[in-house]
């Protein structure tokens, strides 16, 4: 204020990459790669036109869903899927909590941390379908293999996200509990659990939702549930039944979506 007016000079936001040559070379390189990649995709237009007809009959089946002809199979598949979903979510979440505690660097000693992170990595390394194929080979066709698959996948998902939430807590609150002379379990129960509980509940509901959708997929490789019913219907070109099943999956996922967002708001 005391000095004279500074001379005016223009201002522009500094670019992310300062070197102009490098910046333009990167943009150009990315564009060239994208064009080359698009060019390498081979499309068999004859096959597409054939397939469109099939796709159309599928869409028609979807528009005229048939819930009745195979209603018994559909209901059995749905019940099986829902059972698999609920049991595997509960079991998976229960197992994931202690693993998450061990995988949070701020509360677990290093050796336990390494072991728990390894468990999480193992669970997350494989897609559900691959694990399902393995469990079907081990335990035979049916929902038990599906239940094991979904539980296993739930552990990695829940433990990882919960551990990250534990690492993000407000440490001062836990420190205050520690300062009262509380032991390790009491610090967990009073200093950490209240901070991560809403997230734990939200994640469990989200995983319930995922597990239901996955149960439809792993059924295709023989792990029981509505996926098996869906697969059978597809193989018989029974698109009306398949359409009915898909509609029911959509409705259930929608219900789960609304219910979980309400519940999450409530636990906040």
């Amino acid at each position: 204020m005391s000095t004279a007016l500074a001379e005016s000079r223009p201002w522009k936001r500094p670019p992310l990459i300062r070197n102009a040559w490098l910046r333009w070379a990167l943009y150009l390189g990315a564009l060239v790669y994208l064009l080359a990649a698009l060019n390498s995709i081979e499309v068999n237009w004859e096959r597409v036109s054939e397939g469109l007809a099939q796709g159309w009959s599928f869409a028609q089946g979807f528009l005229a869903p048939d819930f009745l002809t195979r209603s018994r199979d559909i209901w059995r598949g749905m019940a099986e899927s829902l059972t698999m979903t609920v049991t595997s979510t509960v079991v998976g979440c229960l197992i994931s909590v202690p693993i998450a505690l061990g995988a949070a660097r701020n509360i677990a000693p290093l050796p336990i941390y390494v072991v728990c992170r390894a468990i999480i990595a193992a669970s997350r390394a494989f897609q559900e379908v691959i694990i399902a194929i393995l469990f079907v080979a081990m335990f035979g066709f049916g929902p038990f293999a599906g239940f094991l698959t979904l539980s296993f996948a739930t552990i990695g998902f829940m433990a990882k996200l919960l551990a990250e939430d534990i690492e993000d807590i407000n440490e001062v609150q836990a420190e205050a509990i520690r300062a009262t002379g509380a032991n390790w379990w009491q610090v967990i129960n009073y200093g950490i659990q209240p901070q991560v509980l809403p997230r734990l509940i939200g994640l469990s509901l989200y995983r319930l939702d995922i597990n239901f959708r996955e149960s439809a997929v792993i059924g295709i490789v023989g792990a029981g549930g509505v996926g098996a019913t869906l697969n059978t219907a597809m193989q018989r070109y029974d698109y009306s039944t398949a359409g009915a099943i898909l509609i029911m999956i959509i409705v259930i996922v929608l219900i789960a979506e609304y219910a979980s967002s309400h519940l999450r708001k409530w636990v906040q």
């Binding site: 001062v172 609150q173 420190e175 205050a176 300062a179 009262t180 002379g181 509380a182 509980l197």
Partner: protein, 278 residues
């Protein structure tokens, strides 16, 4: 009561936060700890209950050394020292009563605390303390529903619920407006006098320290550069603690601060703040 003998703390980064700090605190004395940021006030307080491990020296609480205790004995020692924090450090999602009762965690078993089945004596004491700090009607509210001053009162009640022999207080007023800060300091000093409870209070507000405490210790770069009565603290000693500054201005500012209180409880909720985006 409390005696520190050449307490030293060196962090792993090599920074020496405390360098041979020694002093005695007799029963019932309220000590104010002042000094610039990074002088080691917070470290000193945390070394006493070993939230930070001291690297050298001794801490004697009623003649027993706390620096070499095992885990169980350390927990026993911690429950004898109540601690009050800068940002209140209440567990936000727990009720006020749970926060106060958490002061008893060092005394009750895990399962008792897990099911919130505290002995009736603890519960009576918690209600009495809530009445003492003026929050009787708020026992079942969540801590997050309280204003800053109210939260710090809960923090005081939690520390007292421990039946401590010593209070460790880390910047109790740093997040409060001037008026509430004075009320909290007054309350703290009152309860210390009622119970002849010694306390170490770190403060960045020199005036607040001069106004309330019995004795002031000035820290600079981990060493004691002043130790005496508040009345002895003059411009020269302040310069020695904080560095060169015009210290005579302070009194006018303090008067201005007394009037400029901000209303709390009126902050917009998250929904209100985000409403403009929808």
């Amino acid at each position: 009561m409390l005696r520190l003998e050449s307490l030293t703390k060196r962090y792993r980064t090599g920074d020496k936060a405390l360098n041979g700090v020694s002093f005695d605190v007799p029963a019932g004395q309220v000590v104010g700890l002042i000094g610039p940021s990074g002088a080691g006030k917070s470290t000193l307080i945390r070394c006493i209950n070993r939230l930070v491990e001291p690297s050298g020296g001794r801490v004697l609480l009623n003649d027993s050394d706390t620096t070499h205790l095992g885990r169980r004995d350390l927990r026993r020692a911690r429950r004898r020292m109540g601690m009050i924090f800068q940002e209140y450090a209440l567990v936000e999602r727990l009720t006020v009563m749970e926060n106060v009762l958490s002061g008893r965690l060092g005394y009750v078993s895990f399962w008792r605390s897990y099911f919130r089945r505290f002995p009736q004596g603890d519960i009576d004491k918690a209600f009495a303390l809530l009445a003492r700090v003026g929050l009787s009607d708020h026992a079942d509210k969540r801590a997050s529903a309280l204003s800053g001053g109210q939260r710090q009162r809960v923090g005081i009640a939690r520390a007292l619920e421990q039946d401590p022999e010593l209070l460790l207080v880390d910047e109790p007023t740093a997040s409060l407006d001037p008026k509430t800060a004075r009320q909290i300091m007054r309350l703290l000093c009152e309860v210390c006098r009622e119970r002849t409870l010694p306390a170490i209070i770190s403060l960045h507000d020199v005036l607040l320290a001069k106004m309330f405490v019995d004795r002031i210790i000035g820290l600079r770069a981990g060493e004691i550069v002043f130790d005496g009565a508040p009345s002895e603290l003059d411009a020269a000693t302040l310069t020695e603690i904080y560095g060169e500054e015009d210290w005579t201005q302070m009194h006018d500012e303090a008067d201005a601060a007394e009037h400029g209180t901000k209303p709390h409880d009126l902050e917009p909720s998250r929904e209100e703040r985000m409403a403009g985006l929808a």
